[in-house]
Each structure stands twice: as C-alpha cells, then as structure tokens.
Symmetry: C2
C-alpha cells in the first residue's frame, strides 16, 4: 500500500510541471468586494446548488434573480434579500444592463436557452457562468464566445470537476509522465432518466445522454490527457422504440476515440440505466481512476506500478472538503475580480461540443 | 445489502430459463473410462494448467505428449507415466492415428499452429480441445470446423470462462430478464507484455492484444447477451513506434459495438499497460459486473435495483471452488464420453474471430 505521504509527494512532484487553475482559499481577511450574481433560471441546479454555493463562498453574492415564475422569485428574493428592482423576467431581462448592482449571471437554463441568454447577458455587459453542455451546436458556441469577447466579459462553462482535486491530481499525475505512457482509457456516465422531463426533448436538450451526462467522461478524458481526439467513431441506439423518453433522443451511445499520442479510449452513456460515472486511465506505469462525477464527492484511485507490485491509495475527496459549487462560484468570482484567465472557458466548452458533434455524425444522427 | 439467500433465489430463478452447459461434478463412483489426452505443445499453459487440471479431474488422463523439445518430453513422460510409444514430435505427429491409447489432443501452441494441428489431429481421428484465439483468420476457423465435422470428432475452443459460475450466473441473470433491458456494456482486458515473445510477432500470433486478451471482454459480452454485434467500429494504435514489441502488431485497440437489441458496448485492450479485465453490463434494473478473467478467480458483482435502492452482493468464485482447468478438461471429457454437444464450439470460436476481423477492418489493418 502506498502511504498518504508517498502519494502526496508524488502528487506534489507532478504538480510542479502543471499549469492548472488553482482555487486559492483565502486564509486571511474577507475580500473587499464580491461579485454580484443574478441566476438566470431558478431550477434545481440554481436553487439547490449554485445559489447556496455562492452564499457559502467568499467572493460572490446573489443580488439579482431572473425567472418566469413569480412564486419562485418571491420566495428566493426573501431568502437572499434581493430587492424588487433586481428581479427580472425573461421579457425584461435586457434591462439588466442598466443595473450596476449585478456583475454576472449564472445560466442554469435548459440547453436551448444557453446561447440566447449568454449573448443577451454579454450584450448587457454582464459576465457569464454558463452550465454544460455549452449549447445546442457548434454555431451557438462560437456565437457565445464571440459575443463575450466583443463585450469584454468573462465566459466560463461550469465544468465544476475541473476544479476538484480528483481531476486536478489525475491530470498532474498523467501529464507529468509520473504514470508512464497513456495507453487505454475507459469511461462511462449515465442514469435512468425520468419520463416527461425536458432533457428527453431534443428541442430543449439538443441531444440525449451524451449531451447531458456522457459529456462528463468525455470531458474528463480530454482534461487529464490534454489532447483532443484526432478521430471518433460511435453508435447510438434505442432499445425500446415505444418508450416515450426516446422518441426524440438516443437512449444509448457507445464511442471510441484515438488521440494523437496513440492513447485510445472507449466510452458509453445511457439514459436507460444507472451507470456510476468513471474514467479509468491505463498507463504503462499504473492506473489512474476517477470514480463518480457527482456533486457529493468524486474519488481518485491511483495504482502506481513499482518494483513489480502495485502501490495503492484510495482518496475520497470533495474538492478539499468544500462543496463543489462553492469552489466553482468562488473560482469564477476571483477570475472576474482579478481579471485572470478562466480555464474551463468557452473554447473548452466548444471542444467538447466538437467531439459530441463527431460522435453524433459517426452514429448517423441527422441534423 | 442483498443476502446470499436472496441472491441464490434470484440466480436459481434465472437459471430456470437458461440452456447453459453445466459441469456435473460426480458425487458418486469414478467413471469407468477416462478420455486419454496428448497435449500438443508443452508450453506453460499445457504444463502448468491443462495437464495438472486433467490429472486433478475425474474424466481425463494424460497418456501422450507432443513436443519438439526432447528434454520436456523426458521430464513430463516420467511425471505422467507416459510410455515412449505415446510421445510424438511434430514430424511424427500424424502417426498418432495408429495409437488407440490417445483419444484427444489439447492444442496449446502459438496461434499460427492451431489450424494445422487441429486439422491433422482430426484427420488422425482424435478429438480436439484447442486454445483461444481459435486461429489466425476466418478461413482457418472454417477449415478446422470442416475437418472435425468430416472426421466426426469433437472440437472445443478452450473458453474456460464459459464454464465458470461468474459467467454462467451473469448470463442467466441477464438473459432471463431479471435485470431488465441491457443498455450499455463496458469491458477491457490487457497487460504490459514482455519483450521478445511470440505473441508480439504477427506471423505467430495473427494480431496483438485483441487476439490474445481483448478477446476475453469481447467474448464475455457475446456470451452474456446471447447476441452477435450487428456493427463494430474501432481504432488501433501504437504509442511508441520505436518499441520493438509493436513493429508487427498493434499496442492498443478501442472498439464500439451495437447489438440487434439496441445494447451498445465499448471496450479497450492493450499490450502496453496492466488492465484488470472486466465486463460491466448496465441494465435498466441494475448492474452485472464480472471482474477478472484470470485463472485464479473471477468475481461477479450484481447490483439489482429494487424499491429505490441498490441491493448488493459480491461473489468471489473460482468455478465452484475447483481449478478452472479441471472444469474445462472434465467438461470436454464428458462431452467426448457421452457424445454430448459442446457449447464453446468451433462455431463459437469462429464468431469471435468474425468480430475480431471486423474490428481490425474498421481500425484499418491491412491483410
């Protein structure tokens, strides 16, 4: 068994070569200014995750609300002490540009609204933190990037896993060469989706499980390798053609990728079964495995081959013990406050969408 | 947690619908006659596995030897009390037809010799248990099947996993519908191969890790599903083009498959890293996972979804506690003695080779 100290040493050595985003947890005085957010869309991910995460963090606060549901606005305005004048509907949204008390928006909308509200927010001069998948297609991604660039506002795609120690340590170990050459990567992520939800309608979701959940495994592979797939081949399928969930979207996708280094990868995703998400990176010198992509903890397992045996450590972590949405919100806030580059950028979101487009193309999806 | 009793009930219910090969362990008197084997090729798998497995079993015995290495023959003839007249070289092999004290051969040779010695054995009137992969290509497989059929001898491909409770219980659970619909399957198997061994030479091996070790994951998927892939797409790669192991063969393969039911699968194999072999079958009603394809134990993990939670059991087994090569040898012996059908038949070996041929074709391998 590898001791914690040996593992820490390995990780530290690896980190020395990395150029990774780091969330610096302030150990000192509270910041003099916070980034003031209006979440756009008050669904579960906003209300249960981003908003409490921001409140618990040190660099952001909720000062506005955007929703089409007055009841939600009334309740959350009271909870977060948001004045009436900072509450917007989708119709009044563009007037947010006249509000000096809102710096940024968090887009927690169905996928088909990501591009529109990112672009409208940019045109209103607000920074944008947008959920994944970035948008419905490549054209929308490019329009979002261009709009934010033109308006000189920050754009981040909410890849919270990029800010988790599981992913960062995996990336450092792999990119440093500490694990040898990367040979083969397996990954999966999926769940048994409910009936009647917007994610099963292509007009809202843009696609099926690949867009929504398979993207975690795809993104993790790209993230830890630091390479883009040079070629992708894929299948999609529907098991039960009468299932109302799969009239518009695929039920399953399987895809294989080859990277320029010679590493290969095979992955699956499904909306028909609960898959524990994972990424397993087989290297000539050992195995790096990420288990789970969920909000409540991602574990990292490293088996480094040495002297003929495997050394083993298991590390269950949840982003340095801090809730993932606190880290995400604070990371974006600090980038806005300090005008520093954002690693999970619009370009990063676009790269996933480029891979997804290739997967759908190979699988024969029309349109 | 699912209790052992509940799991047993589930497995029993599932088995009721199955039509699987069963190894009947004799609880009664020893058989009046044993199948008399000559292993062809005295490499590790013959000497360390098949021969001791046969000796430990109840339905077979080693009465002959075929080898090009006199020292091995001398040593093993003494150990197994094989008379000189039952020892053959590759040159004298065909005269085995005149030997009434040898019923069957076990082919533990490099892949390029499987077809030749299977056909020569059949022509000598001997039953054939041949190691996997069945042969170098589809044409050879077809010739082997035809030769055994013409000679009216049994042909089994040594898929020992088919006779293990891990695989049989997984297959029963999945095919019975007890786990719901099969959605997505992941699998892998590979190892970091030594330098200078015949398995890295295409003229002996026919291919790389896919032929040798990836076949375990591929075969397990076909076995538990009871379906043949309707389409396959794949990549192969070499990471280090200067590595002497990969001048002739691929280092890595990633492939995806779609089955007629709509189940999809993604797999990898490598000769560049130690992959723990596995097959994970995600069903609408839970997960069935086989871990390890090795000689010393394969584990089965079933997570069945019920009443909103997962029920869980882990079962580490090694074929009813009996060494896998004992089961394999006794299974073939019983089929010979009783003239019963063999499940891992030549046709089964051919089907794997058909899938492998599609994988290599999609990956762009020439020849």
């Amino acid at each position: 068994m590898m001791t914690r100290r040996n593992f820490a040493r390995l990780a530290t050595a690896a980190a020395a070569v990395g150029t990774l985003p780091r969330v610096v947890r302030a150990q000192i005085a509270a910041p003099t200014r916070k980034v003031r957010y209006a979440p756009v869309g008050l669904g579960l991910i906003s209300v249960d995750h981003f908003m409490p995460g921001t409140r618990q963090g040190q660099y952001g606060e909720i000062t506005g609300l955007v929703s089409g549901t007055p009841e939600k606005v009334t309740k959350l305005a009271a909870e977060y002490k948001v004045p009436d004048g900072n509450c917007y509907t989708y119709q009044t949204f563009d007037t947010i540009k006249n509000n000096p008390n809102i710096d940024a928006v968090y887009i927690g909308l169905p996928n088909n609204m990501h591009a529109e509200y990112t672009i409208r927010a940019a045109q209103a001069g607000k920074h944008v933190l947008c959920e994944k998948p970035m948008a419905m297609n490549l054209r929308e991604c490019e329009q979002m990037i261009a709009a934010c660039k033109k308006a000189n506002v920050k754009l981040m795609i909410a890849y919270r896993c990029h800010l988790q120690s599981s992913h960062i340590e995996a990336r450092n170990l792999i990119r440093s060469g500490a694990m040898g050459k990367v040979e083969a990567i397996e990954g999966a992520a999926g769940f048994n989706i409910a009936h009647g939800v917007w994610r099963t309608k292509r007009q809202y979701a843009g696609g099926g499980p690949l867009m929504d959940i398979g993207i975690y495994a795809l993104n993790a592979a790209r993230f830890v390798l630091g390479e883009e797939p040079e070629d992708i081949k894929a299948f999609s399928s529907v098991v039960d053609k009468g299932d109302d969930r799969f009239q518009d979207i695929e039920e399953n996708v399987a895809w294989s990728m080859r990277f320029p280094s010679g590493a290969v990868s095979s992955m699956t995703t499904t909306y028909g079964a609960n898959q524990e998400g994972f990424l397993r990176v087989h290297c000539s010198g050992g195995v790096v495995e990420i288990n789970g992509f969920g909000y409540n903890g991602i574990s990292l397992n490293v088996q480094k081959r040495g002297r003929g045996v495997y050394e083993d450590t298991k590390q269950a972590d949840n982003g340095q013990g801090v809730y993932q949405f606190v880290i995400e919100s604070d990371y974006f806030s600090q980038a806005v406050l300090n005008n520093t580059p954002i690693e999970p950028s619009g370009e990063e979101g676009l790269k996933d969408m480029q891979a997804i487009a290739k997967i759908y193309e190979s699988a024969g999806r029309k349109g």
